[in-house]
Amino acid sequence: MTILLLAEHDNASLKDATARALTAATKIGAGVHVLIAGHQCRTAAESAAKLEGVAKVLLVDAPAYAHSLPEPLGALLLSLAPTYDVLLAPSTSSGKNVMPRLAALLDVMQVSDMMAVIAPDTFERPIFAGNVIETVRSKDAKKVITVRTTAFSAAANRTAGAAPIEALNAVADPAISSFVGEELSKSARPELTTARIVVSGGRALQSHDNFVKYIEPLADKLGAATGASRAAVDAGYVPNDWQVGQTGKIVAPDLYVAIGISGAIQHLAGMKDSKVIVAINNDADAPIFEVADYGLVADLYQAVPELTAALAKAG
């Protein structure tokens, strides 16, 4: 069994999603190769080489791969595919973008959002917004898989040594797409999908200013990432990359604090695997309380500053 994992990185550093998808890969088979495709991305390759379970790192360094555009990246993966039985990537926005493209070129039906390995050809995945888990057996000779990263813990670093890094040449870019620009949210807070604590706000916050005034100080006190319900994002209170839910980000932190969030099915689908859920809402009948470990029926405009102050006092 030969396995290739497409790494998620920003050219400089390796994303935590890679180490989580690596854990999934090692459950399928041993000796995983990790592909770092990017531009000026050697440091990311060096980080990957230090992960436990990596047998070899393939480094392809070329401008065409700088922004993970699926057309050149798909062509590269296709050129590497003949020697691998399993090709996988974390279910990040770039993994979800390129892997189905590769799968179709290989005439393989992809297993999306894989959350458990039952056997090397049999997997569990969520459907209907996480309301149903299906177990599927892939009949394709090759497997193409995207991994739900919240379902797997991150692979650890090796205690000593590193896997070899092999540099490979780029393949021809189909030259049908180009990168124009990006607007990435800058934040000193932890990344939403990997944070240990997440503080999320809903429509009840009523404005962007209230997110700044109520949600952010609590998040900063807890060292937490900030999130939001779809309703709050659609209302324009916060940017789209804050959205937690089936169509936004799937999170599973140790502690999830839902503030002024009623708990629509699609929001629950994105956070119900959190270890501990706290809900603060003035509506005692809000569905969020059906999944919360600790519910506080209260006016958030009083309770949240009080909570932030209590945590500050407690140190």
Partner: protein
């Protein structure tokens, strides 16, 4: 420019999903079915491009049972020009769907294909990307903004850290994310008008494509239910419980 919009008939997003007692599938008997919400956004975007004068015709295609004609009629009532229904009963995998759509797009000489980023039933998020691969076209997935220009298409994409803007050569594929637009409400006169718009029916066999599933579904089950916890009376009690009982605060 001719735009093709594939649409899928799915269980309505408000329906509580139940797994059949024997775990063989999801019970869809007598439940409300609707157009996949992401596909509805795709239809809206195509119609807006036509209204702006960027497109000449919007054709919608669905693969499904006879009732999928209702899904097409919804799209026609929104403003699409005509529909194509490929008859199929059951659940077809994205790879097979993409192969059929490729044949339809080739026959229709489509310049742009807009579809939902995923269907809310099987949540695969594959069809658009696969179709792009099979056609050899570029893809602008998870789109929140689409601009047609003289030399191609500029697509703003929702990505993990924010937005990414890409330029694509035409013909191209766009998959619609939530914030691409707000689909219009369909008026009664337009529903009546849509009844007269043409829907061509095609037999699956005519495509000569093997649509047998590659993934064998062994089991379906509901995930373990999370039990509701306790209500606390005050912030002080909450902080105390988080520290002592839950152990999530240092």
């Amino acid at each position: 420019m001719k735009i093709l919009v594939p649409v899928k008939r799915v269980v309505d997003f408000n329906v509580k999903i139940r797994v059949k007692p024997d775990g063989s599938g999801v019970d869809v008997a007598n439940v409300k079915m609707s157009i996949n919400p992401f596909d509805e956004i795709a239809v809206e975007e195509a119609i807006r491009l036509k209204e702006k004068g960027s497109a000449t015709e919007v054709v919608c295609v669905s693969i499904g049972p006879p009732q999928a004609e209702e899904t097409l009629r919804t799209a026609l009532a929104m403003g699409a020009d005509r529909g194509i229904l490929v008859g199929f009963d059951g659940e077809m995998e994205p790879l097979a769907v993409a192969k059929i759509l490729k044949a339809v797009a080739t026959e229709e000489k489509s310049d742009l294909i807009i579809l939902g980023k995923q269907a809310i039933d099987y949540d695969c998020d594959q069809t658009g990307q696969m179709l792009a691969a099979l056609l050899g076209w570029p893809q602008g997935t998870f789109a929140s903004k689409v601009l047609i220009e003289a030399d191609g298409l500029t697509v703003t994409r929702e990505v993990d850290g924010g937005h990414q803007i890409v330029k694509l050569k035409l013909p191209a594929i766009v998959t619609a994310d939530l914030r691409l637009n707000q689909p219009r409400y369909v008026s009664l006169p337009n529903i009546m008008k849509a009844k007269k718009k043409p829907v061509a029916k095609k037999a699956l066999e005519a495509f000569g494509i093997d649509v047998r599933p590659r993934l064998e579904i062994l089991k379906m089950a509901e995930p373990p239910h999370r039990k509701a916890g306790v209500k606390v009376a005050s912030v002080a009690e909450l902080v105390k419980k988080l520290k002592t009982e839950a152990g999530v605060l240092q």
